[in-house]
Symmetry: C2
Subunit: 283 residues, 2 copies
C-alpha cells in the first residue's frame, strides 16, 4: 500500500485545542491552508459534519440511489454538481477539494494514497456526496448530560460490520456498519429519544443489547475504532454508521474514488439541530 502526498495521518500544524475554539469559518480556513490534518470531532460545534464519497459521474446515479435506499446509514446531506467542487448547499464557500483535513484515494477498491487536498486529482467528471455522521447527535447527547466514554477517553468510537445487508444499487452493496456506545439504561432511553430527532445523522439506534443478534461475534474487537469497555449496569447501543457508505464504495471497486480519511469529516455551515430534514422510507 502506497501513500502519496502525505506520510500518514499525523501532520498537525495547528493544534486541535486551538481549532476547537475557532469559528467554523476560521477553522475551515486553517484546514484549507493544509495546516491541520487531524479529526474534526469538536470542531465547528453545532454544525452538520459529513462523510465524503467522490465518485465518477457514470456511477453517481447508482450511488445516489444507494444512499436513498439506505437512509439510516447513508443520509445524503449534500451532492455536488458534476465536476463542480463547490458545495453550495452546505455553505457559502465550501470547496470539497481543500476543505477536509485529509483524504483517502482508492483505485479499484484499494487504498492507493492519502492527501491533504485533492486539487491535483480533481476531474470534470467527479461528483461529491456528503453523508451525515454521528457527531451531530453526539453533541446533543453531551448537551443533555449523557456521558460518552469514547469522547471522554479521546478514543475513536467502536464500529462493527453487522449481518444486516443494505439495499444494493448497481455496484454498491455490502453490510451495514454500526457504531456502539455503552450507556446506562436511563441514558440509553434518553439517547434513543434525542438521536431520533437527527435523521440526517443516522437517527435513532438500530439495536441495543446482544451483539450476536446483529452478527457481531466479539464486541471487544471492533472492525474499526477502539474497543469500549461495557461497565456493570450499562448496555451497548448501536447506531447505523456512515462507514457503511465507505464499505459500499470500496466494494464497488470503481476505477477511482476519493473519501475523507477516518474521522476527518467535512464541517458544513448547516446547523446540526435543525437541518431542514428530508427523507426516504427504509425498505
Amino acid at each position: 500500500m502506497q501513500f502519496s502526498a502525505v506520510n500518514a495521518n499525523t501532520s498537525v500544524d495547528v493544534p486541535f485545542e486551538e481549532l476547537r475554539h475557532l469559528s467554523v469559518g476560521d477553522a475551515r480556513g486553517i484546514i484549507r491552508a493544509n495546516r491541520y490534518a487531524g479529526h474534526t470531532a469538536g470542531i465547528g460545534l453545532g454544525r452538520v459534519q459529513g462523510n465524503l464519497a467522490i465518485v465518477p459521474a457514470e456511477f453517481a446515479l447508482d450511488f445516489a440511489r444507494y444512499c436513498q435506499r439506505n437512509p439510516k446509514p447513508c443520509p445524503m446531506v449534500g451532492v455536488s454538481d458534476t465536476g463542480e467542487p463547490m458545495l453550495r448547499t452546505l455553505g457559502a464557500d465550501i470547496d470539497v477539494r481543500t476543505d477536509l483535513p485529509l483524504y483517502n484515494h482508492y483505485e479499484n477498491g484499494e487504498l492507493t494514497g492519502q492527501r491533504r487536498d485533492i486539487k491535483a486529482i480533481w476531474r470534470d467528471d467527479l461528483v461529491a456526496f456528503v453523508i451525515g455522521c454521528s457527531f451531530s447527535f453526539e453533541e446533543a447527547l453531551i448537551a443533555d448530560g449523557i456521558r460518552l466514554r469514547h469522547i471522554e477517553e479521546d478514543k475513536t468510537v467502536a464500529m462493527y460490520r453487522t449481518n444486516i445487508q443494505t439495499v444494493p444499487s448497481g455496484k454498491f452493496a455490502g453490510p451495514m456498519v454500526v457504531s456502539m456506545r455503552p450507556l446506562r439504561r436511563e441514558d440509553a432511553i434518553r439517547a434513543m429519544e434525542i438521536s431520533a430527532r437527527f435523521p440526517h445523522a443516522h437517527g435513532r439506534p438500530m439495536h441495543f443489547g446482544d451483539p450476536a443478534q446483529i452478527g457481531i461475534a466479539d464486541i471487544g474487537r471492533p472492525d474499526w475504532g477502539d474497543p469500549s469497555e461495557i461497565e456493570p449496569g450499562e448496555i451497548p447501543v448501536y447506531w447505523a454508521c456512515g462507514v457503511t457508505s465507505q464499505v459500499a464504495v470500496r466494494n464497488a471497486r470503481l476505477p477511482l474514488c476519493i473519501t475523507h480519511a477516518p474521522g476527518r469529516m467535512l464541517v458544513s455551515d448547516i446547523p446540526s439541530w435543525d437541518a431542514g430534514l428530508a427523507v426516504a422510507p427504509a425498505a
Copy 2:
C-alpha cells in the same frame, strides 16, 4: 391539448367508497386492473403515498440532486433502477407502470396525454422517482381531532406558487409550491408539531398567516386545487407541496416525462407513521 388512451379523469369503475375499505394490496389490485382512475386520498390508509416523476436516465442524476437539495417540497421516498418498473423498496410487488390510477404524459414540458397505465410507453432508459406527499401527515392530523376543511368538503387542497425559489439542479428549477389549510390557532400549533414528525411528507409548515409574505397575491385564487374559506379565528397555514417537483420537471422541458395525474398518487406498503426517516439539510 390532446389526450390519449383515456378521455379525462372521470373513468371510475369501482367506486371510491368501496376502495377505501379495502386493504392496500386489494386496492392496488383494482387500480392495476385499470378499474379505478380517481384520487387516492383515503385509500390504503396508514401507508406512505407519493407523487410520481419519471424521467429519462440522462436527466435522472440532476433530478435526484434537485430532490436532495429541496427536501421539504421534494422528499425522495423511492427511486427505481434505470429501466426497472418494480419499486422494490416501496413494496413487495409495486409496478410503477400500472399501480397508479392515472398518469400524465409530457413532451417538451407540454401535456400530451393521460393514461391509465404506461405499459405501452415504458422504456429501458426511464427512472421513476417517488416523492412524499401530504396525505401522511393529514391522516395524523385527523387522527388527532384536527378538522381539515378540504377533506370535510371533499375538495382538493388549495395550492399556490410562491416567491420562494427552489435550489436548482441542471434543467430543474422553479418556485416552491405550497398547500394551504385554514386552522384555528390551537389546531395550527398542534399541526406544526405533528407534521414536523413527517419529514418524508413535507414536514413542518413553511409559513403561516400573511400570504403576501411568500408571494401569494390572492389567497382566494389558488393556482391548483379549490379555494378554501378562512373563517373568523382561523389562520392559513402553508406546507411545502410535492407539486413543486412537477413544476420543476415541466420547466425542464424534457423530451419525455411522465407524472401521476393530480391527486392520483402511488400508494406504497410503507407505514406512514414511521418511514425510517432519512435526510438532507435545506440550503
